[in-house]
Symmetry: C2
Subunit: 409 residues, 2 copies
């Protein structure tokens, strides 16, 4: 949580943090600026002090609306620096030297500005030589801002919960639409007998999302049949909706213009489900419920993934733990944090080395799945779960988990 | 242009380039993958060879659609690396060592993966120690991918030109809507007498943009009166459209889901323009036309900015060249490249040290402006201009430049 940032800095031995970027691109910057309409800036956070935003002089009016402390880049003579420095790196070294001086920064500094690796190497080498009072963090195992971000306060959880409510309304429209179709020659068709392509469905989905003020950036996963057997296949726009095939529908909209994400997956069969599909679905559903029902504060996140691995392996399904090269069975891990990024900490994974006990403020997915591309099918069920500041565990996902959507007629 | 990448690598003494990221976030990655529905990957480009995309095993089907050479991360034992390395940096060092070996990379390598500066410093130090056959680029003045990207081939220019055609249709709707208003108590109101807020206007603009398949990501600038006097003010949603005030309308949509940008600014006065505004507008319009008419291959880009500075200073307007701290007059530079980023090279700026002669493939804005926040006004006129591969200079912006939009009645 943001108010714990000083504590995370202390734990990591960090005296100051510097980050930079555009709120629309850097979620760390967004964490401080919110939806401010500025093209970019630096955040300077010194332990024990309020963060300061450096901003361009043309954006002073928009920056003022944020309500945090401000400083104009002109204070550093940026225009002259840019004009007279012999190259970018020299300009950057001079700028950061001025910055350290202006903010009286000494001690251990977390340099969190995004740069390309090679440029950063050369720049940091030269800055390191030029600065005597400053050390740079070398141990990145306790990133203070990421640590703060991973535990959401209740107001952040409320934002994500509200997204979940709107997502549930979109899902109702989706099921309403799909349930209005009828069967014809193995396809699900409209009342006028026309098949529906996945591309057409996705267009409607975008419209329903807009109606709920949800933003669909990256293409939604709506993968049918064999495509459903690949967890990250997005489905083929030209494919027609068919009866009796698994459809993995993974929907992950965000607040428009940046902000927080939601993430939900349901697996549908239109009209009816083949017996083997229903059996596999029941297994995924059973373990998904079991995990959600056994979430406990302080238990290691990786344990839940092992719970799923044990369950599947006992039933004879292939898993990544048994064979790291398998393409069928359980081929991903159990879940991931959700927040300003669609995928962030914590990781509910047996493979992760960043294993941590479940804590208040965690918001994460629980999404076991089973995939059999060679049999033309896949199943995944995904909910978002939050741990409130008082330790209450709350599933933010109120959407039915029926596999079959009955068709009309 | 992409086909010149090998030449740019040779000029910069670069034997191999490594970049990484998501197509939706990294425009360098997008340059190679286009609209591929993958969450991310690495591009390995060795001089004289075709680029290779490293991808996750779950995304093999989506990656195949790109039509470039592929390699699965599993070839590097990523899962085991991640699990057994004592920390992220060690895991990264081992991964890149394997990568250099697999691709037989030696010589000078451009490490273009985006990382936070502090992490990159530590990671690169350790990788540098671990690799004997590899040197890292230290001179960043000739970035090969950026160099390739700055000169668009005709097919890229056609994409941007097509955006311009759609933008022109949106502008017609905008002028049609604004011209349908009438004056009442100094406000521009609808036929039913209701004022129109800037927020309401922007909602309509989003709808018109969607109709033309244009994506408005960051909020459009529609700044009226004093707000128009700050080049990057976006305008106040609650403000009502008024008669006789300058409105700076800076519209910069992109292809939906990423891709190329367009960028156009027009300044409007509803109903009528005060005399002093019309005079300032005429000056901006005159120099904008003059610059567009004098664009010539091989002339330095900065010269055009100096042309504007000379013109304004002669007329007695304040400029940044005369006073780097001025808030009024000409407070930005003349233009910037437009492509996969809204702002990219070249820079048409007297302040830029990266001055270059105008070349085939350049696509850039010409946007002189004058700002007087204390007088509650600002003016900017912006077109996008392209230089075709045969040297033809083409203005891609076919939108009227009349200042006044007459109102009804």
């Amino acid at each position: 949580m943001k108010h714990e940032l000083d504590r995370h800095m202390e734990n990591a031995g960090v005296d100051a943090i510097i980050i930079s970027g555009a709120p629309s691109k850097s979620k760390n910057i967004f964490y401080f600026t919110g939806f401010a309409k500025i093209t970019g800036g630096h955040i300077i956070k010194i332990r024990g002090k309020d963060p300061v935003l450096l901003h361009g002089h043309m954006e002073v009016d928009e920056a003022k609306k944020i309500g945090i402390e401000l400083m104009d880049y002109r204070e550093f003579g940026m225009l002259e620096l840019r004009k007279h420095a012999p190259d970018d790196i020299t300009g950057d070294v001079l700028f950061y030297q001025k910055l350290f001086k202006k903010f009286d920064i000494s001690g251990t500094v977390w340099m969190g500005m995004e740069m390309s690796a090679g440029y950063a190497y050369e720049f940091m080498k030269r800055l390191d030589l030029a600065c005597v009072n400053v050390d740079f963090v070398r141990d990145f195992s306790k990133p203070p801002i990421a640590r703060a971000r991973v535990t959401k306060d209740d107001s952040e959880i409320d934002i994500i919960k509200d997204l979940g409510v709107r997502v549930a309304r979109v899902h109702e429209k989706v099921r309403g639409f799909l349930g209005s179709l009828t069967e014809k020659d193995g396809l699900a068709v409209t009342s006028s007998g026309d098949p529906v392509t996945i591309g057409e469905f996705k267009e409607s989905l975008k419209e329903w999302s807009r109606e709920e003020d949800l933003f669909v950036g990256v293409d939604t996963i709506f993968a049918q049949g064999r495509d459903a057997g690949f967890p990250h296949s997005h489905g083929e726009d030209d494919d027609k909706l068919a009866v009796g095939k698994t459809i993995v529908f993974d929907y992950f909209p965000s607040q428009p213009g940046g902000g927080y994400f939601f993430d939900i997956t349901r697996t549908y069969c239109l009209g009816r489900a083949p017996e083997n599909v229903q059996k596999i679905y029941d297994d995924v559903f059973e373990i998904q419920k079991k995990v959600c029902g056994s979430l406990e504060l302080q238990k290691q996140c990786s344990e839940y993934d092992r719970m799923v691995l044990d369950f599947y392996e006992e039933k004879g399904y292939p898993t990544l733990r048994k064979d790291t090269k398998t393409n069928s069975g359980y081929v991903h891990s159990l879940g991931h944090g959700v927040g300003l990024e669609l995928h962030e900490s914590p990781s509910l994974s047996d493979f992760s080395k960043k294993d941590e006990p479940l804590q208040p403020g965690y918001v994460f997915t629980v999404e076991p799945g089973l995939y059999f591309p060679d049999e033309g099918m896949g199943v995944r069920i995904e909910d978002v779960v939050a741990v409130r500041s008082d330790g209450t565990i709350e599933n933010l996902t109120d959407v039915t988990k029926d596999l079959v959507i009955p068709l009309k007629g």
